[in-house]
Amino acid sequence: MTLIDLSPGEVGTISNIKGNRHLQNRLVELGLLSGTDVRLVKCTPFNGPVEIKVRDSYLSIRWDDAQLVELK
């Protein structure tokens, strides 16, 4: 299960982040550690970026990158 499998408003817990080193690093630096709760806030049409809430921030992540964030 990944970030995009959540429906808007649903909360998941991060288990692992795939993808290249840059993406992994950036996401962890922004606080998306494994074990952190994340809520999918909204999706945009045509697989545009998704908005998530993690810790105290709202972030926009592109659809392809969101697919790489695995949840427990």
Partner: protein
């Protein structure tokens, strides 16, 4: 406040040892704090070789004690790789090696987003330079998230934690005195943040470099090496072995530093914010607003309405101060003309310098109004939502959600547009944005369109509602924009991605902008525009004035306009065979040439050629003169509506504003891209005008 200080920038403010660095996350209010602390005592320059703005300023506190402050670009981390962020990590790396480090680091933290902001703070603490943590946005905190200031100070081991609110303008004096106190009490610093554990520090011993003054920073740097898989002294086997043993300990080597730091931060947070409960489900006020503002169809509709309002105001409100400026420049020119004896110096002053500088100053109201709106949209947090909504459609065209801001700016002037592409992390998407920006019809084209439309397009109503003149203007803007988007798609197929940054973007909470900060931002934008563009335009104006005025001929000997015999006239005649297929004659040739200084110079050039009085109502007279101009031999009108249309299409595409290419050279750090732009724009302009003129002739128009 000593205003003169601003115009006479202090030399190398941060060269003396008593300087202070301001570091923080994007959207933490760092720039507002910088503006409030330094007032107008600022100097904005570029970092050598690259064009990220370097903002330095001087802080005047009570008494004589002052210190200099450097505002670094906002960054989330020291291991980041986008343009702005690279500056910060390079700077900090040099401080760690003992190269002109600041006496005090001020780490600005958004109190309403503590854990993520403290991440960067812990990276800075590694340097063991005296650090003051500023908790900004304290006014936003609810009771449940109150921060225990003394506990935080103790856990981090910093010299001071200062709660402030830049918005409410409180706590800034306390911050000033805390900085001054740290500058006086120079003590050995050893910060407490023991985020790295024994197991790891044991593993990385071999990667510790001796030239760092702090052992904690050396360890952090070693971890960044491990994550980048970058060996020390080229010993690859070494780093592989270290990576493997760290993996065996159960850590991800790619994200090691970030994981360890967050573990440490998450460990101290319960003490620092005892009442906090993570409420990921809780909707903030911004999230509720976004239900409308980023709604799938209401969001874009609201954005279109805002855009419409901005452009409406640029073109209506700005015309009033623009008229004043024009009148002022005319008066100065008349004053000089009547008070100086005729001669070369007077000519160069009036026609070269006053004319040239006037041509650029006239756009200041538009630039200021546009920067005001863009600063407000940016500071409220709305611009990030626009980027979020449009990201998908923009990426489809090879651009980035963040390209929307530069594209909008470019309708006023390509230069601030190009400068605002810096926030785009991806090199490829940033370059593509820069390459197509000159196609957005900037305000300098407006005088040219206005002249040609009023002279040659009949003011009739078509299709029942549309005024043909207004419709022509809209078509010109549309032509530029659509071509820009098509070319963006094409260019993005051929340009390779150079940076490997991700596309994660923060949607900061909506905030009421701080008036003083906005005013200062607009003021600084305006000054940068005048200085950057002014220098180039002034030089070119003087050159063009020279070309158009020399060699001098005795006007009593010939009744022909002296410009015929000038260098410019000769160049115009030489150009004629090339531009004849487009329907243009040598006079337009000169206009195209002088447009290199600035497009609107075309109008004053034509005025000079036709010898019309250059005072106030020039366009009316020039319009008549151009309409009535007939070929000496055949008696056929020189200009027709079709030629005017071809000329307008030429102006939509042509590479004319030299200042733009100078800025592109700066921003891309190579001549390759500005030269490419000049080439493709010239081909496009020629082909466009050719198709319009020749196609029109074939269809029987004239």
């Amino acid at each position: 406040m000593k205003k003169s200080h601003f115009f006479k920038p202090a030399q190398k403010l941060t060269q003396d040892s008593h300087w202070v660095a301001l570091v923080g996350n994007p959207n933490c209010g760092k720039t507002a704090i910088f503006n409030l602390l330094t007032g107008l005592h600022q100097k904005v320059s570029n970092y050598p070789g690259i064009t990220v703005e370097k903002k330095e300023g001087t802080v005047y506190a009570q008494g004589d004690k002052t210190f200099n402050l450097l505002d670094l670009p906002g960054t989330y981390s020291l291991s980041a790789e986008s343009f702005d962020e690279q500056i910060v990590s390079d700077q900090v790396l040099s401080w760690a090696k003992g190269e002109n480090p600041p006496a005090v680091i001020v780490s600005v933290v958004d109190a309403s987003n503590l854990s993520r902001n403290l991440y960067l703070t812990t990276q800075l603490l590694d340097l063991d330079i005296p650090t003051i943590v500023v908790l900004n946005m304290m006014d936003q905190l609810k009771d449940s998230s109150q921060i225990e200031i003394q506990k935080l100070k103790k856990e981090l081991g910093v010299s001071a934690v200062v709660p402030i609110s830049a918005k409410m303008n409180w706590g800034l004096d306390a911050l000033k005195s805390a900085i001054q106190k740290s500058l006086v009490n120079v003590a050995q610093t050893n910060h407490q943040s023991q985020w790295i554990n024994q197991d790891i520090s044991h593993q990385i011993k071999l990667l510790i470099e001796p030239h760092f003054s702090s052992s904690k920073f050396a360890a952090a740097h070693a971890l960044r090496r491990i994550s980048r898989n970058e060996s020390l002294n080229g010993e690859n086997s070494n780093i592989e072995a270290i990576r493997n043993s760290i993996l065996e300990l159960g850590y991800n080597t790619d994200t090691l530093e970030a994981t360890l730091r967050y573990k440490w931060i998450d460990g101290i947070l319960p003490f620092v914010q005892p009442k906090i409960r993570t409420k990921i489900q809780k909707e903030t006020r911004s999230e509720r607003w976004d239900k409308i503002l980023t709604h799938p169809w209401m969001g874009p509709a609201i954005f279109m309405a805002i855009l419409y309002f901005i452009f409406q105001s640029i073109f209506t409100w700005a015309s009033i101060p623009m008229d004043w400026i024009q009148a002022g420049i005319d008066n100065i020119a008349i004053f000089v003309l009547s008070n100086m004896s005729p001669g070369m110096l007077r000519d160069i002053l009036v026609e070269g310098i006053i004319g040239g500088v006037g041509a650029i100053v006239i756009f200041l109201p538009q630039i200021l109004i546009l920067s005001f709106f863009l600063t407000v949209l940016e500071d409220t947090g709305y611009m990030a939502r626009v980027a979020f909504m449009l990201d998908k459609s923009m990426t489809k065209m090879g651009l980035h959600g963040k390209s929307i801001l530069p594209l909008m700016s470019a309708y006023a002037c390509a230069i601030p547009g190009i400068m605002s592409t810096r926030t785009i992390d991806s090199w490829k998407e940033r370059l593509v944005t820069i390459l197509i920006l000159p196609l957005m019809s900037c305000s300098a084209r407006l005088p040219v369109y206005t002249l040609l439309i009023s002279a040659f397009i009949p003011p009739i109503t078509v299709g029942g509602y549309f005024n043909l003149q207004g419709l022509t203007l809209v078509v010109m803007y549309f032509l530029g924009t659509v071509t820009a988007l098509i070319l963006a798609k094409i260019f993005s197929q051929f340009i390779k991605e150079k940076s490997s940054s991700s596309f994660v973007m923060e949607l900061p909470p909506y905030r009421v902008p701080i008036t003083r900060s906005v005013i200062r931002q607009v003021f600084i934008r305006g000054k940068l525009f005048l200085v950057n563009a002014g220098k180039i335009i002034m030089a070119i104006s003087i050159l063009l004035w020279f070309l158009a005025s020399y060699p001098k001929v005795d006007s009593s000997l010939t009744d022909v306009n002296p410009i015929h015999h000038s260098y410019a006239g000769k160049i115009g005649h030489a150009m004629e065979p090339i531009i004849r297929p487009l329907g243009f004659d040598w006079k337009i040739g000169i206009g195209l040439l002088t447009s290199f200084a600035a497009r609107e110079v075309m109008v004053s050039t034509m005025a000079t050629i036709y010898n019309v009085e250059d005072r106030g109502d020039e366009t009316v007279n020039l319009r008549e003169a151009m309409r009535n101009d007939v070929d000496e031999k055949t008696g056929v009108p020189v200009y027709t509506p079709l030629i005017a249309l071809a000329l307008m299409v030429f102006y939509v595409f042509a590479a004319q504003c030299m200042a733009t290419f100078a800025i592109v050279r700066q921003e891309t750090n190579s001549w390759k891209w500005p030269l490419f732009m000049i080439a493709y724009l010239t081909i496009l302009a020629y082909a466009g005008a050719f198709i319009v003129y020749r196609g029109g002739l074939l269809l029987g128009y004239s």
